[in-house]
């Protein structure tokens, strides 16, 4: 397996997973907006920061984005090519990567990605409008899952597949911490201090929904949604496939199937330890953003070790 091809497989699956999560994130923001009474202000800005596009956004909307309309922000998150984490940028990146490794993956994967790309080209602008937004987002999330399904069902379990699995796991772990971050940063600001808790719980429900986790949370936790429970579920649950813990465990399963690289193992174990030792109660009491940043930084370090270990050759 060429290092370049492994690198591309890893990033291909990361971009596909990123596109799906970005679509979900915007979808939940849109839903939340509809649920909120007029007395509560909804802020898109934390979502922009969530996907790491704060700087690009600030450049486009210099006065801290307050004057940006709903449609402008959603267009920025979904379609803007100047935003390297927009849905379109992720799908384009996945497609461009795949172009160079088309011989490695089944033809249907190319068709599915191409279909997503063409769908965004044709319907993106329409998808920004409130009327069609959810339809658009659902179609995108479905399309991404179709790619995941094709990979799982039709790709031989060779070493290339392990890089695909690793990419999906790491991207989901990363996106989960980012979505928690957005939820915790306060998407809604109630004008009345007494409403704060009620709306915050609504916010955590939205976070769970955006990770397709609400139903599973209900089954596993059987308690009403609070910051502490939601954090525990999304960080440390062993069974829910989008929890950070689950994704890291999956990555831990993958590494032994690849040529041994101690630096890579060390990098992963460090993040695993952090998650295991996290205390959701105290994280919920203060702002968990700092902790989420720490996880993301360590995932970045792991990524660098991965590149050193396998992608430079």
């Amino acid at each position: 397996m060429l290092s370049r091809v492994a690198d591309n497989l890893y990033w291909f699956s990361r971009y596909v997973r990123r596109a799906e999560n970005t679509a979900r994130l915007v979808g939940v923001g849109s839903l939340l907006q509809l649920d909120l009474p007029r007395s509560v202000r909804f802020a898109w800005r934390p979502m922009v920061d969530t996907v790491g596009a704060g700087d690009a956004f600030a450049e486009l909307f210099p006065s801290s984005g307050d004057d940006a309309t709903d449609a402008e922000v959603v267009r920025f998150l979904l379609l803007d090519e100047r935003n390297s984490s927009s849905l379109r940028s992720s799908v384009d990146a996945a497609r461009e990567i795949l172009r160079g490794i088309r011989d490695t993956l089944p033809q249907e994967v190319w068709e599915a990605i191409n279909d997503l790309y063409l769908y965004i080209e044709a319907n993106g602008e329409r998808g920004v409008s409130r009327r069609y937004r959810l339809e658009f987002i659902t179609r995108i999330a479905d399309g991404c899952l179709k790619v995941s399904g094709l990979l799982t069902a039709n790709v031989s379990r060779d070493i290339g597949f392990q890089f695909l699995r690793l990419g999906t796991a790491i991207e989901q772990a990363d996106m989960t911490t980012r979505i928690i971050d957005a939820g915790a940063s306060g998407l809604v600001t109630p004008r009345n201090e007494d409403d704060r808790e009620a709306f915050q719980n609504m916010q955590w429900m939205a976070v769970l929904r955006s990770l397709a986790a609400y139903q599973m949370y209900r089954r596993h936790v059987r308690q009403r949604v609070t910051a502490e429970h939601a954090l525990r579920f999304l960080l440390q649950n062993n069974e829910f496939p989008r929890s950070v813990q689950f994704c890291l465990a999956r990555a831990q399963h993958v590494l032994p199937t690849m040529p041994a690289r101690p630096g890579v193992d060390r990098g992963l174990n460090r993040v695993v330890g952090l998650i295991r030792n996290a205390d959701p109660a105290s994280l919920a009491a203060k702002n968990p953003a700092g902790f989420m940043d720490e996880i993301q930084v360590h995932l970045g370090t792991f990524n660098a070790a991965l590149a050193d270990g396998y992608f430079r050759g």
Binding site: M1, L2, S3, R4, A6, E96, R99, G100, R102, D103, Q107, W110, I159, F163, M258, P259, Y310, F311, R312, G313
Partner: protein
């Protein structure tokens, strides 16, 4: 399909002057004659869909984006009788033997120059001569392992060699895929006619490459070096790599170590590469030796090749014989090296560095096709009878400024074959590109890639300029089932 009105003013590959099909094409023409216009249209549509699904594309860069285009495919195959093909194949093998001897001689003793058969001056000004290759003796003495020779037929039926592409000829994947499409669209004909197969090519190419390995005995590690996805022939690179089961690599995947061996970067660490089928032009394969800014190759590759640690196909420098001026000397080379008469005639050529021939070219430019020595893809040439006075004046100046770089050929009355149009079968000009593989023995594809100008009257068949393709059938009449 109604053949009654089909007429052409030149030699037609399928239909004789009297309107009757040529013997080798009789079954095909009768079969097509029995299909309604609607059935033909349905099959053409099916062929287009198959081509699209199989992903037979070439990449065009336009509006800042890459666009995959499908090569237009015409339903009606071009038919060549086996008896004629045997002779053509022998002619191609003869050319290749002479060309490889010539390249080896040029980078060796230059006996042909000393014997005044080939002018030293041409060598001095050749842009494809590589000083870095002087004195190198590649495995088996072969420099051009893969050659795509373009053949054209004139109005009187004579098949001529038009040029030999010795650098990085492309198109063979279309030949293979066109056959796949034709088999799906005309299964009946493949059952009853004796159409010789073409699908041996990838195995033959693999054997040709494997034979070059500097580590005989072991299973060689072979890679195809592509410039990457932005290259118009990327589809073919991926196709051939997959068909042969070899690695498809880009320049950055390779490096040359201090031991002069070439390695690929893999997730397991460095892996030695024995043979590289490079689809990157000479001048870009090694920034240490050629274009320093090139990222398409690998630094040190020439060092590795010269040390005999890696084999390159085609060998660097092989392009010295792929020059439209050098081309004119091929018949003399055949005589000089093989002491044989050429089996395949060259298209007559006038070389502008020769004062007498230049005078003829300048005086008769409106009758001639003028070509620069080193362009490919049909670029930079003048088709006299179709040109304006202004274009002709421009070329006269170009020729006078750099005579070595120009040659001219009479405008042939290129042969035609029918293509499917809304108005029924209609003649279009075409050529033929067989692919020739050289190792200890020489292999020639059965037929080759037929390129056809899709535009009425056009003589330009290049895919980059709106050309299409047909399947090419070499038919054995003796074997035909009745």
């Amino acid at each position: 399909m109604d053949w009654a009105k089909y007429r052409t003013t030149t030699f037609d590959e399928l239909i004789q002057a009297d309107g009757q099909p040529r013997p080798a094409a009789r079954r095909l023409v009768e079969y097509l004659g029995g299909l309604s216009g609607r059935e033909i249209a349905e099959r053409q549509l099916a062929a287009d869909v198959i081509a699209k699904v199989m992903g037979i594309t070439f990449t065009v860069y336009s509006d800042g984006r890459n666009v995959d285009r499908t090569l237009p495919f015409d339903l009606i195959p071009r038919v060549i009788p086996r008896t004629e093909w045997i002779r053509t194949e022998a002619g191609l093998k003869q050319r290749m033997r002479a060309l490889n001897l010539f390249i080896g001689d040029i980078y060796g003793k230059q006996q042909i120059v000393k014997d005044k058969v080939f002018p030293a001056m041409l060598l001095k000004d050749s842009v494809n001569f590589r000083q870095q290759c002087v004195g190198i003796k590649p495995p088996l003495g072969v420099w051009a392992h893969i050659c795509g020779s373009d053949l054209v037929r004139d109005g009187d039926g004579t098949l001529y060699a038009l040029e030999d592409n010795l650098r990085i000829p492309s198109g063979v994947s279309y030949m293979l895929e066109n056959r796949m499409v034709a088999k799906r669209v005309f299964p009946e004909l493949f059952e009853t006619s004796s159409i010789l197969p073409v699908d041996e090519y990838p195995s033959q190419l693999y054997d040709t490459l494997a034979a070059l390995s500097p580590r005989p005995g072991d299973t060689p590690v072979i890679a195809l070096l592509t410039p990457g996805v932005f290259n118009s022939a990327y589809f073919e690179h991926a196709y051939l790599a997959q068909a042969m089961g070899i690695e498809l690599v880009e320049g950055n995947d390779l490096f040359v170590a201090d031991d002069d061996c070439t390695y690929m970067r893999t997730v397991y660490g460095a892996q030695r590469v024995d043979v590289i089928y490079r689809r990157v032009d000479d001048l870009f394969i090694d920034p240490e030796v050629f274009h320093p800014e090139s990222v398409l190759g690998a630094p040190g590759l020439m060092r590795s090749w010269r040390a005999g640690k890696v084999a390159l196909a085609n060998a660097p420098g092989a392009g010295v014989a792929d020059d439209k001026v050098v081309f004119a000397y091929v018949p003399k080379m055949i005589k000089y090296y093989l002491d044989e008469d050429p089996i395949l005639p060259n298209v007559p050529s006038y070389l502008c560095h020769n004062a007498k021939e230049r005078k003829y070219v300048l005086e008769n430019i409106e009758k001639l096709v003028v070509k620069p020595a080193n362009e490919s893809g049909g670029y930079g040439m003048l088709i006299g009878p179709r040109s304006t006075k202004r274009e002709r004046d421009k070329f006269k100046k170009l020729i006078e400024a750099d005579p070595r770089n120009y040659m001219a050929q009479p405008t042939l009355s290129l042969s035609t074959a029918p293509i499917v149009t809304d108005e029924g079968p209609s003649p279009r000009h075409l050529d033929l590109r067989p692919f020739v593989l050289s190792r200890e023995d020489i292999y020639v594809t059965t037929g080759g890639l037929t390129r056809v100008a899709m535009e009425k009257g056009s003589l330009v068949v290049n895919s980059s300029q709106g050309g299409g393709a047909k399947d090419t059938w070499v038919v054995d009449l003796d074997e035909e089932a009745d």
